[in-house]
Subunit: 384 residues, 2 copies
C-alpha cells in the first residue's frame, strides 16, 4: 500500500472516524483505524462494536485537479488511531505539503518533507467489519434539522444505564412526522419534526451515545442532507462522504401517551431569557449532592422564585402573564435550565395543575412538549 494524502482532507477524515474509536477496551484492534485503499477511494474506518464510522477520501478523477489523495499502490492496514491522529496533527508546519503513507512489511512509513515516522501496523484482518444494513426503509432530512433535534432532546436521556432503555432515544416516523422522545424517569422531552416526504411507519431506539457522536460530525448546514436507514437491529446514517452504523436498543419503548395531558389549571407565559437568568442565579446555592427544589409561587402578573440551601437563600421576582389559578410548585432548577436552553422561542408557556402533577412546557404548534415532574417541599419553609 502506498497513498499520498492532502493533509487537510486526511485530518478531516480522521477527526470524523475518531468518534467511533474505542478508548476503553480489552480488544486492541478496536483502538485502530482500518485504512483501505482500492480503486478511487481511501476508506478510514473505526468501530467500537456499538458504533461504527466509515469515511471516504476520493482520489482526483478530473485532470489537472489536485485530488484529496492518490493511490500509488492499493492495500490496507490498521494503525493505532490515537498515535496516527497525533502524528498527522503535528505535521502542521508545512501544511501545503502532502503526506505519504507506505507499507513496508509490517511497518508503516509516514513521510512529509524531511520528516519520516515508522510505526508498527496491527493486523487488519482482525478488524471487525461493519454490519450490512438494508437500505429499503429510510428517511431523509437536512443535517441542520437532525442536529437540532438531537440537541433539543438528548439532555434528558438517562446518564447511567441501570435502565438500558432510558439511555436511548425513540425515533418514530409516522408518514411525514419524525417524533424524537427521550426520558430519564423525572422528565420527558418530545420534538416533532415535519419531513418533506411520506415515509410510512418506522421506529427505532437509538443509543444516546450514538446521537451524541453523530451530532458532533454533522456539518449543520441546512442544505446538506442526511439519510437514516432503519434495519432490524441497526440504524445507519449517511451524509457527505461518511457512513455511521449503530446498534439499536432492543425492546419496546415506554408508552408515553398516557403520561401526557393537555388539561391544566394554570398557564404562565414568561420571557425565556429573564426566566433562565433567574434560575441560573439559584444554581449557585446548590452543592453537588443537593436535590433542593426551586420553589415557584405564581400569582397574577408575578412569579416569585425561592431557593433555600445550607449555604444561603435566594428570593427573586419576575414579571409574567398568568391565566387560571395561583399555584406554588417545586421544580428541579437544573431540569428547567436544560429545557429552556434548547427552546428558541422568546417567550415560553408553562402549564400546571397542582404541586404534585407534572409541569408541561409546550408550544401551540405541537413542535415540542417537555414534561418535568415536581419535587415535594414543605411550603412553610418558603412562606413569603
Amino acid at each position: 500500500m502506498k497513498i499520498r494524502f492532502n493533509r487537510e482532507q486526511l485530518l478531516n477524515a480522521i477527526n470524523i472516524a475518531s468518534k467511533a474509536v474505542s478508548s476503553k477496551t480489552t480488544m486492541p484492534i478496536l483502538e485502530c483505524f482500518l485504512i483501505t485503499a482500492f480503486g478511487s477511494e481511501v476508506r478510514i474506518t473505526a468501530n467500537d462494536a456499538e458504533l461504527g464510522i466509515e469515511t471516504v477520501i476520493h482520489t482526483s478523477d478530473e485532470e489537472g485537479k489536485r485530488g484529496a489523495c492518490s493511490i500509488m499502490e492499493p492495500g490496507r492496514t490498521a494503525l493505532e488511531a490515537r498515535l496516527f491522529s497525533d502524528i498527522i496533527r503535528k505535521i502542521t508546519a508545512e501544511s501545503d505539503s502532502d503526506i505519504v503513507l507506505e507499507q513496508n512489511g509490517s511497518v508503516v512509513i509516514i513521510t512529509c518533507n524531511s520528516s519520516e515516522y515508522r510505526i508498527q501496523e496491527r493486523d487488519p484482518d482482525q478488524f471487525p467489519a461493519l454490519p450490512f444494513i438494508r437500505e429499503d426503509r429510510y428517511i431523509a432530512l437536512s443535517q441542520f434539522t437532525l442536529r437540532e433535534v438531537i440537541r433539543q432532546t438528548l439532555f434528558s436521556v438517562a446518564a447511567n444505564d441501570s435502565n438500558k432503555m432510558m439511555t436511548g432515544e425513540l425515533f418514530e416516523v409516522k408518514n411525514t412526522i419524525l417524533k424524537a422522545v427521550s426520558l430519564d424517569g423525572h422528565r420527558i422531552s418530545i420534538r416533532n419534526t415535519e419531513l418533506r416526504d411520506d415515509y410510512g411507519t418506522l421506529q427505532a431506539i437509538i443509543p444516546g451515545k450514538t446521537l451524541n457522536e453523530i451530532s458532533k460530525i454533522l456539518d449543520g448546514e441546512a442544505e446538506s442532507e442526511v439519510q437514516i436507514f432503519f434495519d432490524e437491529n441497526h440504524v445507519m446514517f449517511r451524509f457527505d462522504d461518511t457512513t455511521v452504523v449503530s446498534r439499536l436498543i432492543d425492546g419496546e419503548y415506554f408508552r408515553i401517551d398516557s403520561m401526557l395531558s393537555s388539561d391544566y389549571d394554570t398557564k404562565v407565559t414568561v420571557n425565556k431569557r429573564a426566566f433562565l437568568d433567574n434560575i441560573e442565579r439559584s444554581i449557585v446555592l446548590l452543592r453537588e449532592t443537593d436535590r433542593k427544589p426551586l420553589v415557584l409561587t405564581i400569582t397574577d402578573g408575578c412569579m416569585n422564585l425561592k431557593m433555600n440551601t445550607v449555604v444561603g437563600r435566594l428570593n427573586s421576582d419576575l414579571d409574567i402573564h398568568k391565566i387560571g389559578k395561583d399555584i406554588m410548585i417545586g421544580l428541579n432548577p437544573k431540569f428547567l435550565l436544560d429545557t429552556l436552553r434548547v427552546i428558541d422561542d422568546e417567550d415560553v408557556c408553562l402549564y400546571m395543575t397542582n404541586a404534585k402533577a407534572p409541569c408541561f412546557i409546550r408550544d401551540d404548534e405541537n413542535k415540542y412538549i417537555y414534561l418535568i415532574l415536581p419535587i415535594n417541599f414543605n411550603p412553610a419553609a418558603y412562606d413569603v
Copy 2:
C-alpha cells in the same frame, strides 16, 4: 456595613483576590474574602497563609462621577469566597445595575434589582492579617517586563517539593540588573533584565506558586508599573490597586556560577520555528512515563533528529549553521520545547561540548542563558 458596588469593578476585584483563596485547608476562614469598608475604600482581602492579596475599590470622590462603589455604612465581614464569586458572576442579566451588600446581624444580604440573596457571614475577626512589610528596599519595573520574566523562567521550577529550594525562583538585584534564576536539577533558566535605576544589592527566593498567581493578575501593559519590596521573610508586589504579599523560601540559593561555562566545541544556529516544529513531532511518540531522549546528530549544515520509542520511530532533518566539531547528543525534547517557546528570537544558538556535558542555549547580549543536561543513550540504536 452597607455598600453599593458597580458590578464590573467588584467582579474585577474578586477575580484578583481569588488567586490567594485557599482551596484545600483545614481552616475555613482561609476560604473567605475579608471585605472591609472604611473611609473612601472597600478592601477585598484573601490570604492562604503563604500568599496574601488585597485589592482596593475606591468610592467616587469627584462630583458627578459614578464611583466604583459607595459606602453607606462602614464595617467589615468575611464571606465564603467561592460562593460570593459565583453569586456576583451570575448577576449578569442587568449588568448596568448596581449590587448592594448589607449586613443584618450575621447574615449578609446581596441585592440586585428584584433578586435577593441571604448568606451567612464568617467571623471576620478570625481572618489572619497580612504581614507588615518594610518599604525601604525595593525595585520598580513595568508590569509587562515582570510578566515576561516570570513566563521565561517559571517553567523550570521543580514541580514537587522534595527539595523546597527548587520550588522557588531566585530574584537577585545587582545595581541596574535583575537576574531571575530557576532550576529543577536537570536544567537551569536565567534571565537578566535591565532596570531603570540603580537599586543596590537585593536578593530573595520567591515561591513559584506566588509568581504563577502574580503573572495571572498583572495587566501586562508596558506603561503600568509594579513595585517589588524585599523584606527579610516576605516579598510584596504593589501595582494598580492591588498588593500581593508572599512568604519567601528560607536559606541560601544554589551557587550556579560554577555550573555555567562559555567554552564550547560546537555552536549551532537554527531557525527557532522549524526546530520547535520538529521537536513537537517527536513528542507524539512518547507515552506518559517515557524518558526517551531526542537524539540530535549535528554535522555541517544539517541537524538530524531521531526518536525511538515502543510505539514508533521518527527521523527528521533540519537545515542549520554549524561552527566547530560534529556532535551527537541526547536531550529531553520536553525541556527543549519549554525553552524554545519562551525565546522570542527568530534564530537560536546552541552551544555544546560533548554528549555528557550540558547544552547551553543563550544569546549574545547575555539576556538569557538556558542550560539543559543531556540524557545518556546507546549511539548504536540511532545509527543513521
